[in-house]
Symmetry: C2
Subunit: 134 residues, 2 copies
């Protein structure tokens, strides 16, 4: 039970290796909504930090901020309308399926990279073989 529970914008920024203005930009885009101190400065909770990590993770997988906003929005649904929740549920299912598809794509990408590597290794071997023939 160590670790802080609240962070200033620059603390959080350096933890996540992004700039404070990026964090403000995400707020402008409604991806986060931190509390404020009496003096109007932003305070971030662990939950805010988790959300930012999710945003950055989504980005690393090529999702746009708009898509990420949609995904995150699911956690925020205040609505208690069954139809709305069911709609969100269908959406999460679609996204989960997408993530699984990404995993097989990642396999393909890895295969391509390994093929490139093998190619380079082979080339090295050929060179040293040629060397011997001289």
């Amino acid at each position: 039970m160590d670790e802080k529970n609240h962070y200033s914008i620059s603390e959080l920024a350096s933890m996540l290796e992004i700039s404070p203005s990026t964090i403000r930009f995400y707020e402008e885009k409604k991806l986060i909504d931190p509390e404020r101190t009496s003096g109007n400065q932003r305070i971030y909770t662990r939950k805010d930090r988790a959300r930012l990590k999710l945003i950055l993770r989504g980005k690393r997988f090529g999702f746009s901020l708009d898509e990420i906003a949609e995904i995150i929005g699911l956690a925020d649904v205040e609505v208690n309308e069954v139809s709305q929740i069911e709609k969100s549920l269908a959406y999460t299912d679609k996204r989960i399926a997408e993530i699984r598809a990404r995993r097989s794509e990642l396999d393909l990408l890895e295969t391509d990279m390994i093929a490139m590597k093998d190619n380079l290794v082979k080339r090295l071997e050929e060179i040293s073989a040629g060397q011997n023939e001289v």
Copy 2:
């Protein structure tokens, strides 16, 4: 042994669900370099198509075109200098490690999405339970 071996720009574009101008743009960025007909029109081989697929795949994983160019460049290295090949080899290893890191990130993303889903399911259950109490 069916399937075509050569494609026009619009054929390839529709196969990959991108626009011809995107393909031309990638050429301008030196990511591909197709042959030309006598009348100067571009002809794409299966190899070109594979390369384009790799580009699109890289993009889906959040790589920039510059990074993709670097990765693709490895396949193009004409150089037979051992030191250069060794450098490229180190680079592929780094990228392969990165891909493996991405896989664990993908797991985290999936976990997050599943948590959201469970949350929605729970919410639905609460509503129908509440319903019964009325």
